[in-house]
């Protein structure tokens, strides 16, 4: 099995705090990390590899410092990684991103055919979840999003069975391989990385490709130029005016509240 995992470097939104009064972002505190969903994707690839054998390749698009997330992926269990990095990619929306990544995937495919592509459910900085299915369409393999379990995988018959999270439960889906999965966090637990991985990661130098390395690429589909969506304006969400403020002694406040609630009593459902 050759598994390719697409990963992204993101600012850690968990650490970013918001000042509730000024509603501004406290930027001091945002280190760049491997997108958490992608970490689970790498982990799942490593798990599949431990069952079927093979290679786990990671692929990322980003600035040169994004090599850090490839090294992190090697720590989790990837064998090797490629970073595509070029000014021409800058400002890409999800359509342009899936184009660039699919071109890199085609190049990887030439070296060694790809059986499975895994992406995180979404990146925590954009929250779109659109790049994974986009890549699948571009290289014409079926996408299966929101996967919470890889239940069966048979590389001889080229079949995979996965659980896909749904609104109320899950569905069991069988797919031909190759296909593309996007994974939820509950698919696995990420523990401490084994020591040999850490050592390997520390020494690992990812391959960096520019646009020129990708072979035949339509530059009009890359970066800002290739992005149909643009940010129009940014604004503070309209703040409703608020209703009635009740101040004073607790006993008085509650009296007043209960009186107001009397008028809305049908919102509560009493059973006689």
């Amino acid at each position: 099995m050759h598994i390719v995992v697409c990963v992204k470097q993101v600012p850690d939104t968990k650490i970013i705090k918001i000042n509730p009064k000024t509603n501004t972002l406290d930027r001091r505190s945002a280190p760049a990390i491997l997108n958490p969903y992608d970490a689970h994707a790498v982990q799942e690839a490593a798990r599949i590899k431990s069952r079927t054998g093979g290679t786990v390749t990671v692929l990322s698009m980003g600035p040169p410092q994004a090599v850090a997330v490839i090294k992190k992926s090697v720590e989790i269990g990837a064998d090797r990684g490629y970073l595509i990095s070029d000014r021409a990619f800058a400002g890409a929306d999800t359509l342009a991103t899936s184009y660039a990544l699919s071109k890199a995937l085609e190049k990887i495919e030439q070296e060694s055919p790809v059986d499975l592509v895994i992406c995180g459910k979404h990146a925590i900085d954009g929250d779109t979840g659109q790049v994974g299915p986009g890549i699948a369409r571009r290289i014409d393999i079926p996408p299966i999003t929101n996967v919470i379990e890889v239940s069966k995988i048979n590389s001889d018959e080229k079949k995979i069975v996965v659980k896909r999270k749904q609104l109320n439960g899950y569905e069991l889906i069988e797919s031909q391989i190759p296909c593309l999965l996007t994974v939820e966090k509950e698919i696995n637990d990420i523990g401490y990385s084994p020591m040999p991985n850490m050592i390997k990661a520390a020494r690992y130098e990812p391959v960096i490709w520019s646009v020129a390395d990708l072979g035949e690429v339509d530059r009009a589909q890359l970066g800002l130029k290739g992005s149909p969506t643009i940010v129009g304006k940014m604004f503070s969400p309209p703040r409703p005016e608020g209703g009635k403020k009740i101040e004073g002694e607790p006993t008085e406040q509650i009296k007043e509240l209960m009186k107001l609630l009397e008028e809305k009593i049908d919102l509560f459902c009493f059973k006689a």
């Binding site: 790049v131 369409r137 929101n146 889906i173 643009i230 940010v231 703040r239 509240l257």
Partner: protein
Amino acid sequence: MEENRGIWVFIEVTDGKVEGVSLELLGAGRKLADKLEVPLAGVLLGHDVRKISAKVIEYGADIVYMADHAVLELYRTEAFMKAVVAMAEKYKPEIFLYGATPNGKDLASAVATDLSTGLTADTTMLDVDPEKRLLEASRPAFGGNIMATILCKKHRPQMATVRPKVMKALEPDASRKGEVIEEEIHLEESEMRTKVLQIVKETTKTANLAEAHVIVAGGKGMGDKNGFMLIHELAKTIGATVGGTRDVVEAGWLPHDQQIGQTGETVTPKIYFAIGISGAIQHVVGMKNSELIIAINKDPDAPIFDVATYGLVGDAFEIVPQLIEKFKELIKEKGGEISYV
């Protein structure tokens, strides 16, 4: 691009029922269509879905584009995408909206790639500029108290997925008239590379929160896990479901599926208690459409009071125990039981 006209809404059907978000989008789409003076259409795919088309019209559509095919029985990206792309290429809508559900997001992402057009994710506000015929799809932008309006100027259709429960469905009107256009779609089961083997329903806590009639939500102001018990106690008294802020979940006072807000659940109960919650925008986007919001916070300037119907300024540890007593009295007075089922 000039020939693209009309607003489309993808109608998501589960077990023969239209998902709430699709009805909400028909409501939102109706407004956009009236502003642009174009028809509103529902895109209805499935097997034996003909009877559903009437409902789509009742909720605001002028046209239903329907594909009824055995291969479309259950949602699969490949099959749905092919059908939707074929329809969009034939009828050329200018705006195409989907619910931001697992299937809606999956389908929209695939369709946008094939139509080579822009897609905005998880929109919470929709408007349209009638002169430029531009969809203004706004969503909370990364991090702060900021909304970003995303535009797609040069490609059509302009597409967006929209969060459930932020738009309002119209009252159904059985006398509304509309046209049902059935499309012949060429699909072969043998060409499908995926198969749904089984569907497993699980009623999770999340579903409870999403459907709750009354929610008592607590924030960091409850001090610690022990203090948070007061939230559980009030909830138990009035038969409500418990929710909380992200900070509370991170502190381990509540499991993640009870988090309300941008990165948690969006809820619209009849009554929402926000106790010891500051009212950060990421929390507020998940609860502001509740019918009645009661906030208790000791800081009179807390932003939660901007969205509260009634705001009690004071210490939750003084107010809530008294409130519990009052509710107990009230319930006794009204017959001794409170229930929403």
